[in-house]
Symmetry: C2
Subunit: 249 residues, 2 copies
DNA sequence: GCAAAATATTTACGATGTATCCGTACATTT
DNA sequence: AAATGTACGGATACATCGTAAATATTTTGC
């Protein structure tokens, strides 16, 4: 893709912008469009994302975006891509906080590092996370953004090359890894608080709305349920799954 | 559309239906609306779901639906509810195929039964599954459909009452259980096939679209990755997680 | 049979995704 | 420097969407 602009050579010189008068910010670009869309979604949620809105944010008509995303769905895929690009950065950053990693082989630690980076990036953009479900169901593997595929490749390589699994085993482990990380993130992001103002925990959770007769346990346990498992919980489950998938460390 | 007959006479006693000519089926009801919406989504996907469309399907104007769902979002929540109601039925059905359950305490088998029933119901309505992510992020616990909460209650009760966990422990186990089941279903539903017509597996997956240089492993492993883990995989991971969360059986 | 309540229709509005056509400013060639 | 091709963004238009408000119709209770 992106194969037509032959020159691309410098196009306005350096920055002497002055086109139409629309752009205090110079020309559009896929990066600029995606960054703006991501910002908007982070700020106001997925439902605020419309072509016109993103256009406005960029000082441009909605139709101008179609040069950089062939449809709104493509824009959504772009958001997913942006997320995975951020993940790549995060992983390249060697300083990235690496939290509680049980000892064991290097590939295991690396899987934890990936899982935790994914967790961090996802929590940083909660409104984008639903797209991880939606778009992955809509877009077949081979058509997913490159950044997504590179992430898959990275995990697969660890499993096949370093953990020494064969194709079958690596596939199973890969599925388990993805399922756990994704599911964990979703559950962590589920809305729990009903009324953030309220100081009393029970009211904050809106427990008074739940029929006490039928849901005694849930009512009692809800406050504890509302807490986050954090990276600890993520790591614990991952270890459990890896142990089962490949034998203990 | 269809607005000609003014007569509309009385619309039938008992069942001698004959109203307007809209309703071969009598009055609207929440159940009818949800069932129709679910059918439509199963048949044509989430994007085909619009108030007007559901209305048309029922021989009714779009606005008529608003008596049974206060907004489109509420309708979506209704679909989630419908899914969980089906799950309840499935679980009540003692004949429901209970597949490979490791031996161990009864509550463990029961958790497997719930997981597998959830899996079955979800795979039966793949287009609805994204809503499990979307709506759960949008609707706080206390406002979720009763059927959803009853499912939570059921799992929690098993963990606290039968497995003997305290609140903290049960919460952690509950989160692990939900994460795994949900994540597993999502990964299982991810689109893999690019071109269903194609007989050759590699082409069917559209592997020729993926850059070979950067993704050698993924290309090689994709066919195996495209296979389903099925209930076996679901059960295996669940056992691993439960072992870790409560000690081996 | 009739008033009251429940249910469905009409009409209307603003927002959305996107197809199509048009202008314009720059890059390259002459 | 003038001409020209082309990438880029704007303008306009349309079908569809969710839904508020007012209206019409049917059902129900007495």
């Amino acid at each position: 893709m992106a194969k037509r602009d032959k020159d691309a050579g410098q196009r306005g010189r350096a920055n002497g912008r002055r086109a139409g008068d629309r752009g205090h910010y110079g020309r559009l670009s896929r990066e600029r469009v995606l960054a703006t869309a991501l910002e908007l979604v982070d700020r106001e949620g997925l439902s605020a994302l419309s072509m016109r809105r993103v256009g406005a944010e960029l000082g441009v008509e909605a139709m101008a975006l179609y040069r950089y995303a062939r449809s709104k769905d493509a824009l959504l895929d772009g958001l997913v891509e942006a997320l995975y690009l951020e993940l790549e950065d995060d992983l390249a950053d060697t300083d990235a906080t690496r939290v509680p990693v049980a000892d064991g082989p290097a590939w295991r630690a690396e899987l934890h590092r990936i899982a935790q980076a994914t967790y961090r990036v996802a929590l940083a953009h909660p409104h984008v996370v639903p797209l991880l479900a939606t778009r992955m169901l809509a877009v077949p593997l081979a058509r997913r953004p490159l950044a997504v595929l590179k992430d898959h490749e990275r995990v697969l390589t660890l499993l096949e090359e370093q953990a020494g699994l064969d194709e079958k085993g690596a596939s199973a482990a890969f599925r388990a890894f993805s399922s756990w990380v994704l599911g964990y993130i979703f559950v962590e992001l589920r809305a729990m608080v009903d009324n953030p103002e309220e100081p009393d925990p029970a009211f904050r959770l809106g427990l008074h709305r739940m029929p006490a007769q039928e849901l005694p346990r849930l009512r009692r346990t809800a406050p504890s349920l509302a807490e986050h498992g954090g990276v600890r919980g993520l790591a614990a489950g991952l270890d459990a799954l890896l142990d089962a998938e490949l034998g203990r460390p």
